[in-house]
C-alpha cells in the first residue's frame, strides 16, 4: 500500500534507527553515567523552564485539583489571607496545602523548601517535577513531603527544577517505623496499577510483630537522613495480608497523601536536630461516644387509684 521507500527515506531510517538503538543501549547499560546525567541536566533546565511557565499558565486557567467542598468552606478565610500573601500566584487550594505543609514542618522541626508540581512523568513511572532546584538549596536524596505526609524523594536536580520519585513508584522503598510498637519495616510502591488503588505494600521485619488495621507509621531515619528524614507520616494499615508462606508480616498501607492531587509540596532541605518520633502523626480520630437517650413511656397512675 504505502509509499515506496526512496533511497533518502531508507538512509534516514537507518541513521535514526541506529541512533535510537544506541541511545537505548547507552541509557540501559549505564543509567547513571556522568555523561548521561550531564545531558539530562542540560536539557532538564531548558525543558524545566518551559514547563514552569506552562504550568503557571495552566494553573491560571485550571487551578490545581481540590474538592470543591473544601474550597467553598475555606473561601472566606482564604480571601482574607490572600491579600497578605506575597506570592500572588498561589491559588486557594495551594494556600491550603502550603498552610498544612508549614504546620507539619513546624511540628517536625523540618526546614522545608516549598515547591509546586509542574510536570508529571510519562508512562508507567511515578515521578513528578517540582519548580525548585539547586538554586533553592535542593539536592538529590532529600525527602519530599506535603501537609499530609510523605510524598517521595528527590532523584535528580537541575538549577530550577527537581525530579521526585513518588512513594507509589514500584522502585521506591521507604523504611518505616510503626507508631505504637516501634517495629521497623519497609514500604514499597505498587506502581501505576490501578487495581491496588494507590495502596502501598508494607513488610515488617520482625516476624513476631502483629499488625492491626489502622496502625500508623512514620519514616524511619535513613543513614545521614538521606533520602528520608525521620518522623514523616506515611500512612495507616488498610489491610493485613496473611500469607501462609511469608516469613514476615505483610500489609497494605493507605498513604496519608493523596497522590492524585499533589499541589504544594516541600523538600526537606535540613533534617530535624532530633528525631521527632511519632509527634508529627495526625491525631487518631477517636470516635465520639454516642449519646443515646432512651425515653420509655411510664404509665401514669391510674385515675382509679388517685381517686380512691
Amino acid at each position: 500500500m504505502g509509499v515506496r521507500d526512496t533511497r533518502r527515506t531508507r538512509r534516514v531510517l537507518i541513521v535514526l534507527l541506529v541512533a535510537a538503538l544506541a541511545l537505548v543501549a547507552f541509557g540501559y547499560s549505564d543509567g547513571s553515567s556522568p555523561v548521561l546525567r550531564g545531558i539530562r541536566h542540560a536539557t532538564g533546565s531548558v525543558f524545566g523552564g518551559i514547563e514552569h511557565v506552562a504550568s503557571s499558565v495552566a494553573g491560571f486557567f485550571g487551578g490545581s485539583s481540590a474538592s470543591s467542598g473544601q474550597v467553598r468552606q475555606l473561601q472566606q478565610q482564604v480571601m482574607q489571607l490572600r491579600t497578605e500573601l506575597s506570592q500572588a500566584q498561589l491559588s486557594k487550594s495551594d494556600y491550603q496545602q502550603l498552610h498544612q505543609l508549614l504546620e507539619l514542618a513546624g511540628q517536625g522541626q523540618y526546614r522545608v523548601q516549598p515547591a509546586t508540581v509542574i510536570a508529571v512523568g510519562q508512562g508507567y513511572q511515578q515521578t513528578v517535577t517540582l519548580d525548585a532546584g539547586s538554586a533553592d538549596g535542593v539536592r538529590t536524596d532529600e525527602t519530599v513531603l506535603n501537609g499530609d505526609g510523605l510524598v517521595g524523594q528527590v532523584t535528580a536536580v537541575t538549577a530550577t527544577t527537581c525530579t521526585v520519585l513518588l512513594a507509589t513508584d514500584a522502585s521506591s522503598v521507604v523504611g518505616i517505623a510503626l507508631a505504637p510498637s516501634g517495629d521497623i519495616g519497609k514500604v514499597t510502591g505498587s506502581g501505576n496499577a490501578a487495581g491496588t488503588s494507590g495502596l502501598l505494600n508494607l513488610e515488617v521485619y520482625d516476624s513476631a510483630a502483629t499488625l492491626t488495621v489502622g496502625e500508623a507509621m512514620v519514616t524511619a531515619a535513613s543513614v545521614n537522613d538521606q533520602p528520608f528524614v525521620p518522623g514523616v507520616p506515611v500512612g495507616t494499615i488498610a489491610k493485613v495480608i496473611n500469607k501462609a508462606g511469608s516469613l514476615t508480616p505483610l500489609a497494605l498501607v493507605k498513604p496519608y497523601v493523596d497522590f492524585a492531587a499533589l499541589g504544594v509540596v516541600g523538600v526537606v532541605i535540613e533534617p530535624p536536630a532530633h528525631n521527632p518520633h511519632f509527634s508529627v502523626l495526625p491525631p487518631i480520630p477517636h470516635p465520639l461516644p454516642a449519646v443515646t437517650v432512651t425515653v420509655t413511656a411510664r404509665p401514669s397512675p391510674s385515675p382509679a387509684a388517685t381517686g380512691g
Binding site: 504505502g2 534516514v12 535514526l16 541509557g27 525543558f47 514547563e51 508507567y124 525530579t163 496499577a193
Partner: protein
C-alpha cells in the same frame, strides 16, 4: 518552511501539554492519552516517512530528556521514530481514503502504545508488571484513538493551509495566479482540449515553456513584465499567452494542461490536490528565493537530465534545482520540453550556457489541434545561425540515452545545427551500438525514460553526481548485447572487504574459513565433484 515551523511548534506544544496537564489527569480507567504519540503519527501520515521519522525521533528524545524524564533514555525516541516511519508509509493511503487511513493509523498508534509498554517491561521490569500493563494499556489506547481523528483533521487543515500559502506565493511571484471566469471555464470545458502554446510569440520572453538560460546580452527588461519574469527566464505558464501582462491587470490565465488527452499529461507543476504532503512541487511553482528560474544546464526531455552532467559535469550551485520536466506530447515521453542543453562551446559564456537555445526560438507554430511533438531537434541552435525549425516527426524521440547523446555530441549535427534528422540519428546509433533496433521512444509507460522521474531528481541529495540512467528491459543494455552483470553488494566479489583483505594476506586462514564456511574439506570436494551432497 511554514510546514516545518508548524511541525516543530505543534510538537513542542504537545510535549508541554502532555507533561504538564495530561499526565497529571486521572481519567476513568487509569490511563492517559499520549498526545505526542498521536501527533507524531498524524504529522507523519500528512508529511511522509522522512518527516515522520525525524519528528518522531525528536519528539521522543525530548520526552525522554524533559524532566521528569523516562526511566531508560531513548525508549520513546525509538518507539516514536518507528511510529513516524510506519505512519509515513501510510501517506499514500491518505490520498485515497480517509476512513481507511484512519483505521490504519489507529493500528499504528495502538502498536506504538503497546511498544512503549513492551519496551518498559523489557528494559525496566522493576517499574511495571504485566498486570499493570494489561490494566492501563487498553484505556490509554482508547483515549489515543479518541484524539486521533481530531488531530488528523487539524493536521490536514494545517497542511493544506501551509501548502496553499506556498502555492499562492509562488504563483503570485510568477504572475500566473488567475482564475478563469465561469464563462471562460464553461467555454473551455465545452471545447476539445488542444495544445496551447504561445502562437508565434514575437517578444523575447514569449513562447517559453520551462526555463531557459539567463540572457546576458538580451535587451533590457521591460517594465511591463511582472515581477519574477525576466526575458529569457522561463516561467511555467508564461508561454501560454502571447499577451504581455500589464500591471494592475489580472494576469492572463494559465492553461496548465497542455495538450493533455490523458490525465497527468502536460501538467505543469504538481497538482494542487496532492500538495498536502511530501510531493516536492514542480520547479516552476516552487521557486527559489529570487522567485524565478535560475539558469542551469538542462536537457531535452527533462527526464533525461542525467546526461547533461555526463556531457559536461557542471556542479549545480547549492541553491539550484534540478531541471524541469514538462511534457506536451500526446503520448508519454513525446515532446518533452525540459531545460535546454547547455553546450560547452565558446558561445557558452561564463556559466557555460547558451543563450536562447532550442525552443526559445519562438517559432513554434502549431496548427489548431495539432499535438506538438518535439524531438531532440530542439537542441541548441547558436544564435548566429538561422533559427532552426523543429521538425515534427511521426514518432517522438524525446529522450536520448547518455551513450547516444555522448556519441552524438561529437557529431556536427548536434553542435552546429541543433537538428538531427533520422538518418544521422540512425547512423550514430549504428556506430555506437551496432544494433539499430533501439527503441527509445515510448510506446509503453516508462520506456525511453532516462534517469529517474522529476521527483526522484528533485529528491536526490547529491546534485553533482549524475543520475544513473535506468533502462527498462529491452532498451539499451539489452540491445547492445552486453548486459552488465549484476554484482552482489556484500559478496566475495572483487571489491568486497574480505577479498581486499585476503588479497593482502590479512587473516588468511580465518578468511578462508569464512569463505568456505565451516564445512569439512571432504564435504566441499564432494560437493564440487557433484557426488556427495
Amino acid at each position: 518552511m511554514r510546514r516545518t515551523v508548524l511541525t516543530v511548534g505543534s510538537l513542542a506544544v504537545a510535549l508541554v501539554v502532555q507533561l504538564v496537564v495530561l499526565n497529571g489527569l486521572h481519567l476513568p480507567g487509569g490511563g492517559v492519552p499520549d498526545l505526542v504519540l498521536v501527533l507524531v503519527a498524524v504529522l507523519a501520515i500528512t508529511g511522509g516517512p522522512v518527516r515522520g521519522m525525524v519528528a518522531g525521533f525528536t519528539a521522543g528524545l525530548a520526552l525522554d530528556l524533559a524532566p521528569p524524564g523516562s526511566a531508560v533514555l531513548g525508549e520513546y525516541a525509538l518507539v516514536f521514530f518507528l511510529v513516524g516511519w510506519a505512519a509515513g508509509k501510510l501517506s499514500g493511503v491518505l490520498e485515497r481514503s480517509a476512513l481507511q487511513s484512519l483505521i490504519l493509523l489507529a493500528g499504528v498508534v495502538a502498536l506504538g502504545e503497546a511498544a512503549v509498554s513492551g519496551l518498559t517491561l523489557a528494559l525496566d521490569p522493576a517499574q511495571v508488571n504485566l498486570a499493570g500493563v494489561r490494566q492501563l494499556l487498553p484505556p490509554a489506547i482508547g483515549y489515543d484513538l479518541l484524539l486521533l481523528p481530531f488531530l488528523l483533521y487539524l493536521a490536514l487543515l494545517a497542511g493544506a493551509w501551509a501548502s496553499a500559502s506556498e502555492l499562492h506565493r509562488d504563483l503570485d511571484s510568477s504572475g500566473a495566479l488567475a482564475v478563469r471566469s465561469r464563462k471562460a471555464q464553461a467555454h473551455q470545458a465545452s471545447k476539445q482540449r488542444v495544445p496551447h502554446l504561445g502562437l508565434a510569440a514575437g517578444r523575447p520572453h514569449d513562447g517559453w515553456v520551462g526555463s531557459g538560460p539567463a540572457s546576458r546580452s538580451r535587451p533590457p527588461r521591460r517594465a511591463a513584465v511582472p515581477r519574477g519574469l525576466r526575458p529569457g527566464h522561463g516561467v511555467a505558464g508564461s508561454a501560454v499567452t502571447g499577451v504581455t501582462p500589464r500591471p494592475r491587470l489580472t494576469p492572463p490565465p494559465v492553461n496548465l494542461r497542455l495538450s493533455s488527452r490523458r490525465r497527468g499529461f502536460g501538467v505543469v507543476g504538481s497538482p494542487v490536490g496532492s500538495a498536502i504532503g511530501r510531493h516536492p512541487a514542480h520547479p516552476g511553482l516552487r521557486s527559489t528565493a529570487s522567485s524565478h528560474f535560475r539558469p542551469h544546464p538542462g536537457v531535452p526531455g527533462g527526464s533525461a537530465s542525467g546526461h547533461a552532467a555526463l556531457l559536461r559535469p557542471t556542479p549545480l550551485r547549492p541553491g539550484q534545482r534540478r531541471p524541469a520536466h514538462v511534457r506536451f506530447g500526446t503520448r508519454r515521453g513525446d515532446g518533452s520540453v525540459g531545460r535546454l542543453l547547455g553546450t560547452p562551446g565558446p558561445a557558452g559564456g561564463s556559466a557555460g550556457l547558451l543563450d536562447r537555445t532550442g525552443l526559445s526560438a519562438s517559432r513554434l507554430r502549431f496548427r489548431h489541434g495539432a499535438a506538438p511533438r518535439f524531438r531532440t531537434a530542439s537542441l541548441a541552435p547558436p544564435r548566429s545561425r538561422p533559427k532552426a525549425v523543429p521538425r515534427f516527426k511521426r514518432a517522438g524521440y524525446a529522450a536520448v540515452s547518455p551513450a547516444l547523446a555522448g556519441g552524438l555530441s561529437t557529431t556536427r549535427g548536434l553542435r552546429s545545427a541543433g537538428t538531427l534528422d533520422q538518418r544521422e540519428l540512425l547512423a550514430a546509433r549504428r556506430r555506437l551500438l551496432g544494433v539499430p533496433r533501439l527503441r527509445l521512444a515510448s510506446g509503453r509507460r516508462g520506456d525511453g525514460q532516462l534517469g529517474g522521474s522529476v521527483r526522484g531528481l528533485l529528491r536526490s541529495p547529491r546534485p553533482a553526481k549524475p543520475a544513473t540512467p535506468r533502462f527498462r528491459a529491452g532498451s539499451l543494455a539489452h540491445a547492445s548485447g552486453r548486459p552488465e552483470p549484476k554484482r552482489p553488494r556484500f559478496g566475495y566479489g572483487r571489491h568486497s572487504v574480505l577479498s581486499f583483505l585476503a588479497a593482502r594476506g590479512v587473516g588468511g586462514k580465518w578468511l578462508a574459513r569464512r569463505r568456505a564456511g565451516s564445512r569439512s574439506g571432504a564435504w566441499l570436494i564432494g560437493r564440487r565433484a557433484g557426488g556427495v551432497r
